[in-house]
Symmetry: C3
């Protein structure tokens, strides 16, 4: 159960640079391609002629040509031509609203009439030269909501990521969860602690000492259908923490776009946006590599958790205070689903 009338991240631009890409989004098998430089299109990945996957075809003169018998389809899904055939009566291929924005390709797998690009989640950091972004994509065999739970409750860092970003203070300091309209916010502030290795590096990159006590924060923002953006950072202790002036802190945003593939699998687009040394691609690569290793640690846990839940659908899980972020996020999702079904 996932909302279909929503903008999801479908792929990264480099995935469609050379040829069409076939990918299943919310149960819809879709081909993504560039009809022309700077444009993007998305069609049902099924040739109306004989059912071949259009994603095995190629782009010719702005049209997607089926790689089996040469039927050409326009971005709107209308059959344009086929050698030796009249194509006027051919059934139209479903096209999906698709937009390239903020360095991602976004798709709307539901009712096209409701697809308003203005509803795409605004990413301020993606529009500013003061920020840099690096990230990756993992395929994980779990319900997308398990990943939302995971990200809206960072106490798991203490255990799953014990050797990297986890630290004991995370699950010793209670988190606070609140709902603001269509957003769930879970925040945790740790004061006067030792900065873990990643933040020591970030402090140095910001020209700050790395051996002094810091105040550390994690502020997770969930918005439907399944985006989790996490403000993370440290400030030299005693300067106001999250509110400290820019020259006393280092911060970044952990970016998580969780796109359902099926009911029990996701395309997980993860990354980090940072506002220090934005012009340093080697640093971007280094952070991406480190984050990729850390985020890979969640995969086994989530996939085995999914298998356990599939095995025991009758079991009720606990909803503790640390789970409030996930619980509230699921309530928002349920409300979104109910609205979608009522319409």
């Amino acid at each position: 159960m996932f909302p279909k009338n929503a903008w999801y991240v479908a792929c990264m631009p480099d995935e469609i640079a050379d040829k069409p890409l076939g990918r299943t989004i919310c149960g819809e098998k879709i081909v993504f391609y560039r009809p022309a430089p700077g444009q993007v299109a998305a069609l049902d990945d099924f040739c109306p002629h004989r059912g071949a996957p259009l994603s095995l075809g190629k782009v010719c003169d702005g049209e997607l040509m089926c790689g089996y018998h040469g039927l050409r389809v326009g971005c709107d899904g209308k059959a344009v031509s086929m050698p030796g055939q009249r194509v006027q009566g051919f059934p139209r291929t479903r096209s999906f609203p698709v937009v390239e924005r903020y360095g991602f390709i976004w798709v709307w797998p539901g009712d096209a009439a409701q697809a308003d690009p203005a509803k795409i989640h605004h990413l301020h950091w993606a529009e500013s030269p003061d920020w840099a972004y690096g990230g990756g994509l993992y395929h994980i065999a779990c319900d997308y909501r398990l990943m939302i739970d995971n990200l809206m409750d960072l106490t798991h860092e203490t255990y799953v990521h014990a050797n990297s970003i986890g630290q004991k203070e995370i699950d010793e300091v209670p988190c606070k969860t609140r709902v603001e309209g269509d957003e769930v916010i879970t925040s945790r502030h740790m004061e006067g602690i030792q900065a873990p290795p990643f933040w020591q590096m970030a402090l140095r990159m910001n020209g700050l000492p790395d051996d002094q006590p810091v105040d550390r924060w994690q502020i997770c923002h969930f918005t439907p259908p399944s985006h989790v953006l996490i403000e993370v950072g440290v400030a030299l202790a005693g300067h106001g923490g999250y509110e400290a002036p820019a020259d006393k802190k280092a911060s970044s945003i952990v970016v998580d776009f969780i796109t359902p593939e099926t009911e029990t699998s996701i395309h997980y687009f993860w990354g980090m946006a940072r506002n220090f040394k934005p012009g340093d691609p080697a640093l971007t690569a280094q952070i991406r590599e480190g984050q990729g290793k850390i985020f890979a640690e969640d995969q086994e846990m989530l996939e085995l958790q999914q298998l356990n839940l599939t095995r025991h659908p009758e079991r009720k899980l606990l909803m503790l205070n640390i789970d409030a972020g996930g619980v509230q996020s699921r309530k928002l999702i349920d409300r979104t689903l109910a609205a979608e079904q009522a319409a």
Copy 2:
């Protein structure tokens, strides 16, 4: 849905040279073996004692001995002996009519009483010293009819095999389809074109110039249950094309025996029979290698097409003029199936 009262190619002789072969044909799990040099037998691959696969056994004195407890079965499926046992009362193992002919092992997976070896498709080239044959076997996860469609509509060569045998003229020249009794014939004649690389080679092998315009033909013959034999060739332009005298042309036969394994998988026996340089095994090997690469290009397309059709069983495919060969072939198959079910 496949006819079962029909002769299918089951395997190549070298597959049973040293030991029994277990293979599923039209849903029947069968063990093929040689009881003696030059003979071939086929039994249900299930030992009546404890259900072990007989294909793990070995041939002893003309009998197939189960590799689990030593039960021996004759070619007729009768239990012959077992250490310390009387086997008279043992249930008989089903035997399948099987014939070695034309360099292939043919099996009849249906009602044995109707199996007449005279019904095996006649392959004139397999009996003549003027011809040579080379081929291979692919396992492909698709309904056997998708492969028939593929072969009865060679316009796909322009797209799937764009870098080898495909050429633009193929889908520019219309094909003609006719039904003659139990045979569907789709033919295409291209006149005054440039010979593609394979045919340039063949022209040279026939002592003909390779740089002159040629007339090229492709004549696909479908016969039930699932054989497609394709006459292909080129003649120096203006000498009558397909009807040109032998010293003005080069030709061969593309051989396709499509044996259903299950409803959605096939054993695909492909090859080429040629009537030039038949005594040149290096040329046979070279052609086989080239053809093997080309025919492998169809696999991904067919398997993904199958997945698309399985995903959307409700969708009707188009039946264009280029599809007439496949459409008529399916009609013949449907008639064969109806006759089989009525009986």
Copy 3:
């Protein structure tokens, strides 16, 4: 269908030496671990918090700590603590009776109230310094009863193990099967034969000549739920065979603990206990390696037999005199199952 109120071998001690082990036994997904040196515990492998597998966690202070969010569970399944939480109301995790004995970890997957460690199969050789044991574990995709059949009818050695322990005399000499209470015994005595390689070695290790005729015996003991222990040995011919005095024979016990994982898969614990040169670990390793190779030969046969039986559930198998051991064992199992269901 397997008895659940029974002691099964779950794992070897070295499998839980460093960290918890998740393993499915009779359909129950269980985590095994050592709360303290010399102790063993077994819990449902499902964290009551969010369904994470506890087997990804670690042991802390005698408690099993979930690797996702740090919930700690005691050996009795009671939640003990969790950072920032009160756990009194948490649901209890099911614990399974588990005992370490004879060098194996035994688990009772059924009704804990009936689990009496006194019912664990007594292994005299495991308690004596005169014996040594070596063995291994295979995962095989077959119904546990197919492995019992296999072991209670050693005529298969002639065929499956033709190149190692098989010899023609095995299936020439009839076996005798008898039931004694809750035990099925199938025995075969071969007189005045040549010792096969393994027994030639064993004779030498016992200070006996290896080139003289011997009497050889195989006495298979089945006890529910699924243990098969096989007394095997040779004596110099004419000294009474199995009853010969100790200085005229060499013998050992083939150990087979067959633990169902699912209806069609098993954990197969195999090994050999011997009462010669017990203090020679190199000999133990050598025997284990040889036995491992031989026992691996059964895997393909059993897995393909299982596929055949799954394909044809309607087919009745034969029950010959050589099958009496398996047939009687299955009767005992059926009786055990009926009693379990009646209770």
